[in-house]
Symmetry: C2
Subunit: 334 residues, 2 copies
């Protein structure tokens, strides 16, 4: 079952039974707009603060995933959830009402990979018939958390990314569906010493490279074994660095690589600079765009690699670098 240094190939692979995607107005206006389950026209989602709005999104996404599978919250054994905010308050406040035993996670924008890995590992081990994985991000709460309050109207460098307002939830379980999680590759922290928190693509690309190479090595695969290799939110800058790093290792993924942060917004017209980012970016793209294509069999096998930049305003102010981490999830049509 253990593969190579960092991967697991499940003897009894769990399934992604259903998923839910909830996004804000701007995401709804983007190229994937027609695919999301719920687009809220008002980014406060009926709440008073950005943080409460993000909590509301997480709850909605979970209920959406559960509703599609006709599973009640009380039937869900465990929930793995996380967000970008300090002390994960979007998750704590949002999921309280579901009364599901909770594992709180933090992996920056890689958290959807971390949550899916742990949910899959739990189901494959027989620790629950149904397990939920959920992550979220919100442009308003993330700008406030990491950069400047929105009212300050700061200029955004071209390498900066636009935090996706969205939440994706995934019901993982033993019940057969058309998407199975056949394996996972758990990522290590990779730190090239970059310190520019407005260029997260560059900070995360080395971790994405490390995890993809490790995945190929652990499973004895080549890039073409995957119909697509999806990174979470490297964006335009990060993708080109990833290609350079992979080239140096003699591995070419240009033909089948896609990045959720690149496809979720229309760069020119939506003014999103280097692309989308945030815990929600990879999660809603997986739910709305990637999973349906695996379900239908258009793609037989996909490597999903959400990427995270590990930093806080404190580490940034103290002059620390921004290390990256990425987790790989192998999804197959069945």
């Amino acid at each position: 079952m253990l593969k190579g240094k960092q991967s697991i190939l499940f003897d009894c692979a769990p399934y992604v039974i259903s998923s839910g995607s909830v996004v804000g107005k701007k995401e709804g206006e983007g190229p994937l707009g027609s695919l999301f389950d719920l687009i809220e026209e008002e980014n406060l989602f009926g709440q008073d603060t950005w943080e409460e709005a993000e909590s509301e999104m997480q709850k909605e996404a979970c209920l959406m995933a559960l509703g599609k599978a006709q599973v009640e919250p009380k039937e869900v054994r465990y929930l793995f959830g996380g967000d970008l905010l300090r002390q994960g308050i979007a998750t704590s406040m949002g999921l309280e009402e579901l009364h599901i035993p909770l594992f709180g996670l933090y992996g920056a924008c890689s958290t959807s990979g971390e949550a899916l890995a742990l949910a899959s590992m739990s189901v494959a081990a027989g620790y629950g018939e149904y397990v939920l994985a959920v992550t979220s991000s919100h442009f308003g709460s993330a700008e406030k958390e990491f950069r400047f309050p929105l009212a300050y109207a700061n200029q955004r460098p071209l390498s900066s990314q636009w935090t996706v307002t969205g939440s994706g939830a995934f019901l993982v379980g033993e019940e057969k569906s058309h998407v199975k999680v056949s394996g996972v590759t758990v990522g290590k922290i990779v730190d090239y010493g970059l310190k520019d928190s407005q260029n997260m693509g560059a900070c995360m690309a080395p971790a994405a490279c490390d995890t993809i190479l490790q995945n190929l090595k652990d499973f004895g695969s080549k890039p073409s074994d995957y119909d697509r290799i999806f990174t979470g939110d490297l964006g335009y800058v990060g993708q080109s660095i990833l290609f350079d790093l992979m080239d140096k290792e003699g591995v070419d993924i240009k033909d089948n690589h896609m990045d959720c942060g690149k496809i979720i917004f229309e760069q020119e017209t939506q003014h999103t600079n280097a692309g989308g980012s945030g815990c929600g970016c990879a999660a809603v793209t997986l739910s709305a765009y990637i999973l349906p294509k695996i379900q239908s069999g258009e793609w037989e096998k996909v490597l999903f690699v959400p990427t995270g930049a590990l930093m806080s305003t404190v580490s940034f102010n103290e002059g620390q670098s921004v290390p990256g981490i990425a987790h790989g999830i192998v999804l197959e049509h069945c």
Copy 2:
């Protein structure tokens, strides 16, 4: 293997092979002082900032646990780690050099329970021969993160707790030792609507009550089946509330309950008000005080229940309540 609503009884129970405890000066002067592996006289641990000091502690604690078991970092399959800081930077920066695939966690002061639960679940499922669990807290970084900079010298209400400067790491694995993790009870968020972040014991007591009751129910146990039931850091205020809540349910744990936050400091002389707290409190107490007693057989069976208060300065400023969460770990002599 699944027990009741929230618990797992492992078919093939993993072992706590070794552990390491690293603490600051004040903890070293407390009642458990002689038991810790490493006491640093200088709370910066040779670093420039409190955050870097906390990172250093995590690394030291991990290396201590590994050293005792003569296991190299590269032999460790996965690492589950967390701390109290925003975006978990103590963990991200501290564990980078170990190059172990990482799952970042956030469960406030319950994180040592969360990490031990996931590490045990992973080993029991065959996902790794060796898995590490580590958590930390630091008085300086926590005061800065949640309350006031130390230089402000604010008055501390009597219900406030003193964040433990310390890190505890646990090597969980298949290799037989005298302590096995026979089961876990994963906690739900419990929110009584309390909003006083300077009275965390009161905020966490309902969650501790919920998890302990659920553990007893799921495993069909009574309190006396455990030699001790340890909560993480309810402190003096939280413990009395826990007793009241348990009384209402007709369950009396007074005879065998202990709280890590109560025993780590000498309340009167060390001026720690309601007791110790923080991710490190339960972790170093488990490592230095509880595990040796289970190893020796003085205690046959212990329920270890770290408790967390889920809040941030943002949620506090926005008037949100402080929900609690607690995870139960069943430790047995063997």
